[in-house]
C-alpha cells in the first residue's frame, strides 16, 4: 500500500486545494502517472502516483483543501512476487 501525501510545496504554503483527479477509485495507475492536480496561489501542481497499482481510496474531493503532510489517497500496489497458479487437475 502506498500513500499519496501532499509534500511540502514551499515556504509559507501550508495547504492546497484539489482541482482535479485524473483517475477514479478502482482504476489502475502507473508510478509517475499524474494522479491529482492541486492549486495554490497562482500555481497548479500535479502530484504523480508514488507507485503502480490500483487507486483504492480518495480522501479529498475536488474543491477540498488539503494540508501539507495529509494523505490524499491510497494506491494498492501490485505484488512483485509471482503468483502461484496450480496446474489444472485432469479428471
Amino acid at each position: 500500500m502506498a500513500q499519496v501525501i501532499l509534500p511540502k510545496l514551499g515556504e509559507g504554503i501550508d495547504q492546497a486545494t484539489v482541482s482535479y483527479w485524473f483517475f477514479k477509485v478502482g482504476q489502475k495507475v502507473k508510478a509517475e502517472d499524474d494522479l491529482v492536480e492541486l492549486v495554490t496561489d497562482k500555481a497548479t501542481f500535479n502530484l504523480p502516483s508514488p507507485a503502480s497499482g490500483t487507486l483504492s481510496e480518495i480522501f479529498f474531493s475536488e474543491g477540498d483543501a488539503v494540508r501539507v503532510g495529509e494523505v490524499l489517497a491510497v494506491i494498492t500496489e501490485e505484488s512483485n512476487f509471482p503468483v502461484f497458479r496450480p496446474e489444472p487437475v485432469c479428471n
Binding site: G10, G12, Y20, K42, A43
Partner: protein, 210 residues
C-alpha cells in the same frame, strides 16, 4: 541553471502552448536542461484553474467580432487577456535542480519583472497576497504557472505597449476589479521590444543563476 532561449516573435497562443508541452517533455526526459520561451500573442483570453467564465464580461458575439478566442489552461489563477502589446515569458525550468519551492518560484518571476522594469526607471512593487507586479494599484505584470514533476509551464506576461490595454475591459482580470497599466503608459514613450527581451534574458540569468 543553464537554459536555452527561444525568441519566437509573434506566435499564436495554441502553437506556443503546444511548443511548451513539447519542450516540457524534452526537459523531463533530460534532452534539454531548461528553456525560456519569449513571444507575443494575438488577442486571446485564457482561464486558469481558479477561474470562472463569469469573469469574461464581453459576450461571445463581441469576442468573435474581435477575433478573440478563449482557452481553459492548466495554470493557476483566474481570467486574463494576452495581446501583441505584451511580452510573454514561458520558463520551462526543472525546480529539482534548484529549490523545490512554489512560493520562491513565483516570487522569483516577480523579481525578474521588478528588476526589468527598474532597468527602465520604473519603480514597481509586490502587493501582499496579490501575485504579480504593480505600479501603485495598477497591475503591469501577471503571473500564473503550472508545475508537473517540479517542471514549470506557463509563466508571466508583461504589459509593454500603450495601445493594447483596452481589451482588458472585456474581462475582470484575475477575477478582480483592477486596472492594468503598461510600460509605455507609465513612461509616456515608445519602447523597443528587443530592448526588453535583452534585459529580460539578463535578469532571468541573474535570478535563476544561468
Amino acid at each position: 541553471m543553464h537554459f536555452k532561449i527561444f525568441d519566437l516573435g509573434l506566435l499564436d497562443f495554441l502553437q506556443a502552448w503546444d511548443l511548451q508541452k513539447q519542450i516540457f517533455a524534452a526537459v523531463k526526459n533530460n534532452y534539454l536542461p531548461a528553456a525560456l520561451l519569449l513571444c507575443r500573442h494575438g488577442p486571446v483570453i485564457t482561464i486558469g484553474r481558479s477561474g470562472s467564465r463569469g469573469n469574461i464580461l464581453a459576450s461571445a458575439e463581441e469576442l468573435a467580432s474581435r477575433g478573440i478566442f478563449c482557452y481553459e489552461v492548466e495554470r493557476g489563477g483566474d481570467v486574463t487577456y494576452h495581446g501583441p502589446g505584451q511580452i510573454m515569458v514561458y520558463p520551462i525550468f526543472n525546480l529539482c535542480l534548484g529549490r523545490k519551492d512554489l512560493h520562491l518560484y513565483l516570487r522569483s518571476l516577480e523579481e525578474v519583472a521588478i528588476r526589468l522594469l527598474f532597468d527602465f526607471d520604473l519603480r514597481v512593487v509586490r502587493r501582499a497576497g496579490l501575485t504579480g507586479v504593480w505600479s501603485g494599484k495598477q497591475k503591469i505584470a501577471s503571473v500564473g504557472v503550472g508545475i508537473k514533476n517540479w517542471i514549470t509551464l506557463h509563466g508571466m506576461s508583461i504589459n509593454v505597449k500603450k495601445n493594447d490595454l483596452d481589451n482588458f475591459s472585456l474581462i475582470r482580470p484575475c477575477g478582480m476589479n483592477i486596472e492594468m497599466t503598461s510600460m509605455e503608459t507609465l513612461l509616456n514613450t515608445q519602447i523597443d521590444l528587443d530592448l526588453i527581451k535583452t534585459s529580460l534574458t539578463f535578469q532571468f540569468k541573474k535570478i535563476f543563476g544561468a
